[in-house]
Amino acid sequence: MKMKNPMSIFFVLVIIASALMTPALNAESNETLIIGFKDEIPGWIRNDVLDVNKDLKCVLVKADAGRILKTGTNVRYVEKNKLVHALYVPNDSFYEKQWNLKRINMEKAWNLEKGSENVTLAILDTGINYQHEDLPYISGFDFVNNDSDPMDDNGHGTAVAGVAAAAIDNGKGIAGIANVSILALKVLNESGLGTTWNVSKAITYAANHSADVISMSFGGDRSGIMKDACSYAWNKSAILFAASGNENSSVIYPAAYTSVVAVGATDKSDEKANYSNFGPELEIVAPGNSIPTTSLDGYTYFSGTSASTPHASAVAALIKSRYPQLSNEDIRERLRNTAVDLGKEGKDDYYGYGLVNAYAALKSIFDTGSGTYPSIFGTHNGTITPNVTITVQKIYTYPCVGTGGHTEYVKIWNDSWNITATWEGYQSDWRNITLPEFELVRGETYNYTIQTGSYPQIIHKHTANTTRGAITCTSFVDANGKTHNNWIPAIRLL
């Protein structure tokens, strides 16, 4: 056995003792603790263990077993065994066939948000069958026939609307992603054809009617008026999504405009659908093969980048529902940053930033924002006090341009709990350190130690207030050994 560090033993025993003395913790933890080890699980702990996870090198022990626990420097973390929220499984009759929703993590996402009627999702398409039993009240306009009746005479728009907004938990048909207000704008005729003129009119109409999100499952050639219309809507705070196209070729327009999020399609294995268009403009992907949805006379399966687009636009509508103060740029960045990276590491031409992850996009993020020069690496100590409960899986450190600027070691703790993690080198997701998921509870204060490498961005303040709470600096010892009391690491906990 390795020589034990008496201070470490004392420290861990204090943590366990603190945990045991906290009544709230016992109630919440179901009276068990999890201890994670750096190396093998030591033999001396065997008698007190309720369960073992050899892969993760951790054990589950009764909280009251803590009084007889001995430990050493091998301990990586001690944490309460938290109750995990049940997945939200709606009662819609075809829900089991909706494989697509599980791929974008909707069951966890619905625990956070199902949509607000204050958020408007404009669907530009062939219209919507607003008499469908599974679709909500819909307002809109018909730009093809120039009247106020956006009834669908093709079925495509009704299929798009079902993916995005079919009623959740009504015991019928399918579950949509977001129950928000729908603005149906018919721009395509009964054959699925339309013109750049009508599309552009509808985009400006949506923007002028305060649409928060605009979903466009169509495309064509480059067009000056359509580009201007998309920029107009973006500048009026709408976030726009469009299908990348189904030719296994370059991204079509309007998806290829910078003011529009181009959405590609994936299959059940999270592989690129073989028809899905690609290129540098592709920003995100979502399921697109055999998607159960609504039709003119009931329900159907729907395939193509047309089916992928409402996945992304509806998740954006959920983000806007949960965080109404976020701008279209904020929502776009959140979708990018929380997507599940597929294909080559980082953004690539075939998957963009990756697969939409609704749950990750809806979670609260503690974000200090970027910092300023001067910068140097070293060890930061301070406190974080969130004003909302934040579920954390990763820590990201803003780097100075051209540097690694990453966190090499992180420890977050309070009186009853702690978690640590170490950077694993320039491999896979190297800008982030991934941690076992934990919560920073609203109103509580947590200590942090963050050791940075290369040149991270720094906020030169003693205390910084963010939208999700406050962060302070207790001390920062730089690489030259100099101590500062107003150097906060620019970080994002997500």
Partner: protein
């Protein structure tokens, strides 16, 4: 002039007008007719063929040529292709129409917006049957 003379004059005038009209119609050029080939490519991502029906107008040379579909034969499906032959009358641009000319569903195909799943037909004039 008695009433019989007036009646005879009217009948003669009507007869002459009828003959003149028939003669003019015989000499007046009728609409040229063309044979068309309409083809759809069907793939996993392009599974919804845009239909072309009797009475539809097709456009060539940015709208200088307009052809109205008069007859469409049953479709033939071969692997990933659907093929139809059709006959049409040239409504506009009788001097411009030529064999091999591409026709489109709209005057300016660059302005056409479609659902990504739509297979837009490729249409070509294969034969001018009557000038």
């Amino acid at each position: 002039m008695n009433k019989y003379a007036i009646l005879g004059l009217c009948i003669s005038t009507l007869f002459i007008c009828t003959i003149a009209t028939l003669a003019y119609m015989d000499k007046a050029p009728s609409s040229p007719e063309v044979e068309l080939r309409i083809e759809w490519l069907i793939t996993e991502g392009k599974y919804s063929p845009i239909n072309v029906s009797v009475g539809d107008i097709l456009y060539g040379k940015g709208g200088e040529v307009q052809i109205k579909i008069g007859e469409v034969e049953e479709k033939k499906r071969e692997s990933h292709h659907i093929m139809k032959r059709a006959k049409g009358a040239v409504m506009k641009g009788r001097e411009e129409v030529e064999e091999g000319m591409k026709l489109y569903l709209v005057e300016n195909p660059k302005e056409l917006i479609t659902i990504p799943e739509a297979s837009v037909p490729s249409i070509e004039v294969v034969k001018i049957t009557k000038r």
